[in-house]
Symmetry: C2
Subunit: 416 residues, 2 copies
């Protein structure tokens, strides 16, 4: 039996035990893992160093090494996140709906774990602990497939999790790490419908698209954000500038940062030049269409590619439009259905924008940067879904659950 | 441009218009389609006859011809179903949750259409009208891909729908039928992520598995039902017999019919022989494992294949077990996660069964035949989902919807 099938089968067996564990048992396990992480810090750092050394030897870039690297602070953060998770409500077992049918059948819809979650991710060892703990809290088993460059770190972390779980009521088999990190194993994992209930890719666009394009197991897609801010005719100039600067520059490398600015022509005439100065003061490179060029000097011409690109950098492309409808058409054509904002004092414009823009999160007079499980108050975040099935937008713990119906009768049978 | 892309693009454009249509506008359109179906009955039947003639010429079997055939009664039924649909609540626009964050942001989660639904189905022309009307009611556009053997009928029905929609506020482009029914077009449709938000296969196991295995567009899987009835030690013999006979024989060809009977050995000793007589009186062929053979004469030995097979026929395989846990293990190993029943007077057994059986619908003392959108009181049925993401069990109108978040602020920006 291959390592993949063996570990998937173990995870599946563990999942069926996990489904009946209590909140208390799950929280105790999370606390035990937190303690074990702190106690075995030296071991984890030693193993992590092997990955770092290998990466340096291969001449891997500093930003990747930064993502790979663990230190005392980062391990303490992991342990703290585990403790925070114990404080969150456990969604499993919640009765979502209940009703009685005229024939006396009593129907309940209750929240249950998904079963086995397949997690495919890049070289961030913290995802190993993060994904495991979110899955355990929601009664799921997890099959982890990390990057080869983080293998020593991931093995150490999973060893620590296993040693912790052995002293708890939860089966240690609930967390499985694939040590064969070949492409073939990943491809086999994409089609493991008999063992996996869902696949969650975490990483760059390319990884996610590979999984979406090749998996027969259902995928939770967390996607790119080509986010727009539309400044309508009646937008307050001060607020518009503050929000645009914040959404673009506060953290340009993340998916909820603004990438495009759409401006009503009447507003552009009066205020766009001034806003451009502010953005440039924040070192933002400005690009734009022809109409925008009339208001902003030295604008780099934006071409078709610009409208589709998620820069993840201090670059902003500006388009001037005649009205909210032209803005909506542009956003629906080029957006990635992530987060889109309208800045306006007109209720009519808000209503048109909210009703017709097709995206996970729509903002009125606020920065797109709030699209985040913690900012939404979920206390945890699985990712931000840009698909429309199952979960959309920031995903909290309920995104890792399913439901089942229970139907209680007194001998009811179906008539003609 | 291929027919597929052209029609998918039209459907997508129509979807963005549909999202802001009112319940009244949608219901008026459904009523107009109902009228048009009745008015153009002669035309529809004439076109349907072409399909029937071609099928007969090809020597196609009677059961397929029955499914293909339309008649006055079936068209009246379609029209009536459309009118019934107008009476159902429109889920679109419902506010599912709303809360305010400490920073003053007001968040709402609202129900929205999915967008464009791709429907792939076999030779039942009624699915053309059924799928179109369910999609229109929920503000979705639909791209239909039916069977070549029903092409004339499907074209006639979609022509009628188009003529009806032209007199309404809904775009006629919302319903698109592919006339190129080649395998290649179907395969292209599986990967049309830029246009389709979901694919729904309706038909046999093979069609569904082809779509699940090959689609990169998210799939709503409606699956097979290898459903079990477990008769526990304390089950009432009369009730157990009534439910078992009903679940097996009332309509053996459907997915919620029982296929397997698991019996507690103590109950088997006292009552299984008598139950076997009753089942045979209903012309049920009985198979069974060795332990069952001890109680029932002339049982056909059941092999490994039997436990996995959805007979869809008057065949029932019987297994005798030591307790509820052995029953659950068997069901979780061989079941298709559809509908599973326990017949018992023991609350403890019910609780163990409900907590550990992994299936969409679990029954206590009732027939599995109730797994159905209408029996659940949903007023409509998209199908019965056996997957765990998005929707599980009987799917009503909300299964054809997604959500979006709207976030209203007064200039909020994200701090550090």
């Amino acid at each position: 039996m291959s390592e993949l099938i063996e570990k998937a089968a173990k995870a599946k067996a563990a999942a069926s035990q996990l489904s009946s564990k209590t909140t208390l048992q799950k929280n105790e396990a999370l606390k035990t893992i937190a303690d074990q992480l702190t106690n075995e810090m030296a071991y984890i750092l030693r193993e992590n160093e092997k990955d770092i050394d290998a990466a340096k030897e291969k001449g891997i870039g500093q930003s990747l090494i930064d993502r790979l690297m663990l230190n005392e602070g980062r391990i303490v953060e992991m342990a703290e996140a585990l403790i925070q998770l114990t404080a969150l409500p456990d969604p499993i077992g919640d009765t979502l709906e209940s009703w009685e049918r005229p024939n006396g059948l009593a129907i309940q819809k209750v929240r249950v774990p998904l079963g086995v979650v397949g997690m495919i991710y890049e070289a961030r060892p913290n995802v190993t602990v993060d994904a495991s703990s979110l899955c355990l809290k929601t009664g799921n088993a997890v099959l982890l497939r990390g990057s080869s460059s983080a293998l020593h770190s991931n093995q150490a972390l999973v060893n620590v999790i296993h040693r912790a779980l052995e002293g708890t009521e939860l089966p240690a088999d609930a967390v499985q790490l694939l040590e064969d990190v070949s492409r073939e194993t990943a491809s086999d994992m994409f089609r493991l419908n008999d063992y996996l209930d869902v696949l969650i890719p975490r990483g760059g666009k390319r990884l996610i698209q590979t999984v979406v394009q090749n998996a027969s197991v259902p995928v939770l897609e967390t996607g790119a954000g080509n986010c727009h801010i539309f400044i309508d005719q009646s937008a307050k100039p001060g607020m518009a500038a503050e929000i645009t600067v914040n959404a673009k520059t506060q953290r340009p490398s993340v998916c909820n940062a603004a990438e495009k600015l759409i401006v009503h022509e009447a507003w552009a005439k009066r205020h766009l030049a001034e806003l451009a100065v502010k953005l440039r003061d924040h070192h933002v490179e400005l690009r734009g269409d022809e109409r925008a060029t009339a208001f902003v000097p030295d604008l780099i011409p934006a071409d078709g590619d610009d409208w589709e690109t998620e820069y993840l950098d201090k670059i902003l492309a500006i388009k001037v439009v005649a009205n909210v409808h032209e803005a909506v058409r542009h956003i629906n054509r080029y957006g990635t259905k992530h987060s889109e904002a309208i800045l306006t004092e007109s209720e009519e414009s808000v209503s048109a924008f909210f009703q017709t823009v097709d995206a996970a999160v729509l903002y009125h007079n606020a920065s797109t940067r709030f699209t985040d499980g913690f900012e939404f108050g979920f206390g945890a975040e699985i990712g931000i879904s840009t698909q429309k099935l199952h979960a959309r937008g920031p995903m909290g713990l309920p995104a890792l659950t399913s439901t089942k119906y229970t139907v209680c009768g007194e001998g009811q049978i179906k008539g003609v």
